[in-house]
């Protein structure tokens, strides 16, 4: 009897310990996480338009949302994101490669409801503070703590007639390295 109790208690204690280890280790070993899926999409610094609600895909099943994602690496040069055109609503969120949100905004927080943004490292930010290139004068400068990450641009489609407009908006969106 004592032996069974000993086995059960030790087993449960070990299970609790391993449970914690598994939960903490999953983000590092997951093979279906956002970063892996985005890397499979194709090149960096390019907006990939995503299909809506495909099982196992990147987007949730919301039928009114259209999204595009761009993976970036700002180790060499900053990346600039621009988009303009008619939309009902747009929003943007920047994540690091572990899917932690670092910055987000929507059309109401942008100038003239246009998206013009540059993601820069701390060092690039210092040099821009001294001497900001003319073409970045209107851009929102976002200081990013690490060099790689991804951003998601979303817009909504209240009815089918907005579909083409939303696709045009996402097609026209640019995510490009700044040549310095």
């Amino acid at each position: 009897m004592g032996r069974v109790l000993f086995i059960a208690l030790t087993g449960i204690f070990g299970a609790a310990l391993l449970h914690i280890v598994i939960v903490l280790a999953i983000p590092a070993y997951a093979d279906r996480d956002v970063w892996t899926k985005i890397q499979a999409l194709g090149p960096t610094e390019f907006f990939h338009r995503l299909p809506t609600g495909r099982p196992g895909g990147l987007t949730s099943a919301n039928p009114f949302v259209r999204s595009a994602v761009c993976r970036f690496d700002i180790g060499e040069a900053p990346v600039r994101i621009t988009a303009s055109g008619l939309t009902h609503y747009w929003s943007l969120a920047i994540f690091d490669r572990y899917a932690n949100e670092k910055y987000s905004m929507n059309d109401r927080t942008a100038t003239d409801r246009k998206l013009d943004m540059a993601i820069v490292t701390t060092l690039q930010m210092i040099s821009y503070r001294k001497n900001l290139p003319e073409f970045l004068e209107d851009a929102v400068l976002v200081e990013f703590p690490v060099t790689t990450g991804y951003l998601v641009l979303r817009t909504v489609v209240p009815d089918a007639s907005w579909d083409g407009i939303a696709q045009d908006f996402l097609k026209g969106a640019q995510c490009q390295s700044v040549d310095s």
Partner: protein, 196 residues
């Protein structure tokens, strides 16, 4: 003579089996801590941030879905009615009330796999804040049912599956507000259930 190895084998079996099963169950059951709950509706405003707890981080790594940022919106989910009964396609439900302030909101239903629950071509299975019929005071009533209803009918189809309602608020101060006492979400009341 096999007492010691057998003991160790049993302990390992319980430890590894229990840990794996409990981890999978925990990650399936919830998105993590830090949820805001308004009636049957639940949202996780911090699940996409660095401040998310380990369960939320493991959950988002396993599902691999792009989450909404804080300034983008907030996604509320409801898997049960006000009394706590799971939502079923064979029952009628009345959603009534208002949503928290938002520029735009959408409502749709998903099945257990997270896929959109569509009743069929041309049937209204989704709504948003601009195509819904509202009362004079800004409140609305939506009837989720497999059979056609007057007013705002959310067609759930006749598949006998449990489903979840998803209400997404876009550009909302809800995520940032610390005290959620004043926030109101639609009530979900169960009506009649059809058998067979």
């Amino acid at each position: 003579m096999f007492r010691v190895p057998l003991t160790i084998a049993f302990i390992f079996l319980i430890a590894f089996g229990g840990a794996t099963a409990s981890a999978i169950l925990a990650l399936r059951a919830t998105v993590g801590f830090g949820a805001i709950e308004i009636g049957p509706w639940t949202a996780w405003p911090e699940a996409q941030t660095e401040a998310a707890d380990p369960y939320a981080k493991a959950h988002r790594a396993r599902t691999g879905v792009l989450l909404l940022g804080g300034a983008e919106g907030l996604r509320f989910m409801a898997g049960s009615d006000d009394e706590g009964h799971a939502l079923e396609a064979r029952c009628d439900y009345t959603l009534s009330g208002v949503t928290p302030p938002a520029r735009f909101w959408t409502l749709h239903a998903i099945d257990e796999t997270g896929a959109l629950l569509l009743a069929g071509d041309g049937l209204p299975s989704t709504y948003h804040s601009q195509n819904i019929l509202k009362n004079e005071d800004g409140t609305f009533v939506i009837t989720a049912s497999e059979k056609p209803k007057t007013g705002n009918w959310l067609a759930t189809g006749n598949k006998a599956v449990p489903y979840q309602l998803v209400l997404t608020l876009f550009d909302t101060p809800t995520a940032g507000s610390s005290r959620l006492v004043d926030l109101q979400m639609p009530q979900i009341k169960r009506g009649t259930c059809h058998d067979g």
